[in-house]
């Protein structure tokens, strides 16, 4: 059986206790997106400031409330995408979901695992890999992916 240490790695608890990039950004120019986990009431708010000239995430702030997994994942996500281009951020989203064993391209029947592996070649998840233990606790996967789905939604909305 998976132990609690698999789920609650020290780095996760650290992000939970001292979340990075907490706060708000003025909208506009920033874009605000809210994500909810209807199952447990977790809530994530992502403020994204994307520089249209360079297509770069100039700044990101996060708010909301939820369990340690959702909040730590949000904090880590904010650090990982800040300063990255939108394309890099999208690849991170795919890489993170792959880490959570969610393979969307396979689910949607477009391409296979090999495509995904090629796509994600060279993507460094770093600290985020600490969240891999979540996979052993299926009901918590939604907690970990909430921030990333919200980010994805935000990027899509900005692109529109």
């Amino acid at each position: 059986m998976a132990g609690l240490e698999d789920l609650y790695r020290e780095i996760i608890l650290d992000h939970y206790r001292s979340p990075r990039n907490r706060g708000e950004l003025p909208t506009p120019p920033a874009h605000k997106t809210e994500g909810f986990n209807p199952l447990c009431g977790d809530e994530v708010v992502v403020y994204l400031d994307v520089d249209p000239a360079t297509d770069t995430v100039r700044d990101i702030k996060i708010a909301g409330q939820g369990c340690s997994i959702s909040q730590a994942s949000t904090s880590m996500m904010s650090g990982a995408v800040k300063g990255k281009t939108v394309d890099e951020a999208r690849r991170l989203i795919r890489a993170f979901k792959a880490l959570m064993s969610i393979h969307e391209s396979k689910l949607e029947g477009e391409g296979d695992g090999a495509d995904l592996a090629a796509d994600l070649e060279g993507v460094r998840l770093g600290d985020l890999e600490a969240l891999q233990g979540v996979v052993k606790f299926p009901v918590r996967i939604k907690c970990a992916t909430l921030a990333w789905n919200t980010l994805q939604q935000g990027l899509d909305e900005i692109a529109e």
Partner: protein
């Protein structure tokens, strides 16, 4: 004077096979009966015997086992009717669960009787099952929904009840909150509704399993409950309604069983309650429901209530004494006005994380919004943990909860 024999919980535990499951060396401590209860051997045996010896479709065949099946099915209805104090079995409509019972009233009675501008009164502590069907109706018909708020001590604030009911057509309220444990003054609220010519629907999903229920004494119009929370199987519940109301209501689902006659140009409906039971019913589940009622009656509902009051008091005391500064309980403190669903939160630790650590110790509690998001918003919290007690829980289960909570608190300590 009635004498209640206290529950022999040690013996009761042995009636529930699942409770002797070993979870990697840990005893299963099941504290989530408000979500769904476990099932005793007698219920499982009754259902098994039904399938093995008496199974056939009901109300149709003339052969012997079809008659046996029909007798068992209708016998279960009679047991459920007696259990809640119904005047006749015809007042018990078998449905899938309490949710379907409430939807039946919303689709049949309400759509035949409510019109634009009418009002329905709900409360801030309702389960989504007693909110969403009315919101769907309200959106369709332009019907107003009014809300009864809470007091700071987690009771319904009834100071403006009469005002709120002015001109309303229906009051729909839970008898016991699945989050706060609060028991509402049903008779008083039904009387107030009737004084304003409104009907009263009681969501008794959390009440019937735990407290002796007499729908006739309540003088209510509709009462909804589910078998799965009262030792019975999932997949069946009941709507009790006054017979005249059922007779006047249009049918809900159409099909076999609910008709008297069908011609090319129309149909006539069957008698109540079958008028509302289209299609092959959950035959074996009904038998299990009847066996569950037998089981509870055997324990005695007054003894069940006494036991749960004692255990809830023990739990409230243990939680406050063990975590005086860090744990907050959402619900009344007085066990005479509450049931055994105890919601709580630790300072700075999310309910989900608490449940996860508890699971590690074999303790099953619920974390989340408990299908009562409007209530959670009123409380200003995204989620709570909830421990809930039933006939098979004892002080040792509460002690296991407290011990596991202490470890959870330590685990997340800064």
């Amino acid at each position: 004077m009635t004498i209640t024999t206290p529950l022999d919980v040690e013996r009761i535990k042995r009636d529930f096979a699942i409770l002797s499951r070993d979870l990697d060396g840990k005893r299963l401590v099941f504290l989530d009966s408000a979500a769904s209860s476990q099932k005793p051997e007698s219920v499982l045996a009754a259902m098994d015997d039904m399938y093995r010896r008496h199974y056939a479709n009901v109300h149709r065949g003339v052969y012997r086992i079809a008659e046996e099946a029909t007798a068992a099915f209708e016998g279960a209805r009679a047991k459920v009717a007696r259990f809640v104090g119904a005047k006749s079995s015809a007042e018990i409509v078998f449905v899938r669960n309490a949710t379907e019972a409430i939807n039946l009233v919303a689709y049949s009675w309400a759509r035949a009787n409510l019109h634009a501008g009418d009002a329905i009164v709900l409360t801030h502590m309702e389960h989504h099952a007693n909110v969403v069907p009315w919101q769907m109706l309200a959106a369709e018909r332009d019907i107003e929904i009014r809300w009864i708020p809470l007091t700071p001590d987690y009771m319904l604030d009834l100071t403006k009840l009469d005002e709120t009911l002015e001109g309303a057509r229906l009051l729909s309220v839970s008898a016991m909150s699945n989050v706060l444990g609060t028991i509402n003054p049903v008779r008083q609220m039904v009387d107030a509704a009737h004084a304003h010519d409104a009907l009263a629907l009681i969501d008794a999903c959390q009440f019937v399993p735990h407290v002796r229920t007499d729908v006739t004494e309540w003088d209510a119009d509709f009462v909804a409950f589910s078998a799965h929370k009262m030792c019975g199987p999932s997949g069946i519940g009941a709507l009790w309604a006054r017979r005249e109301l059922l007779e006047a209501m249009p049918p809900f689902l159409g099909g076999g069983e609910m008709i008297r006659d069908v011609r090319l140009d129309g149909f006539t409906t069957n008698d109540v309650p079958w008028k509302f039971e289209a299609g092959t019913p959950p035959i074996v589940d009904a038998v299990g429901f009847g066996a569950a009622v037998d089981y509870l009656q055997c324990l005695g509902m007054d003894a069940v209530r006494d036991h749960e009051m004692r255990l809830t008091r023990y739990a409230l005391d243990a939680l406050t004494e063990s975590f005086p500064d860090t744990l907050r309980i959402y619900g009344p403190r007085d066990v005479s006005v509450r049931g055994g669903a105890v919601s709580f939160l630790f300072d700075g630790i999310h309910a989900h994380d608490i449940s996860q650590v508890l699971d590690e110790h074999g303790v099953c509690v619920r974390a989340g919004h408990h299908c009562a998001k409007p209530l959670m918003r009123q409380l200003g919290v995204p989620a709570t943990s909830r421990a809930s007690f039933y006939v098979y829980n004892d002080e040792a289960d509460v002690d296991a909860l407290v011990a596991a909570l202490a470890m959870a608190e330590q685990f997340f300590a800064h």
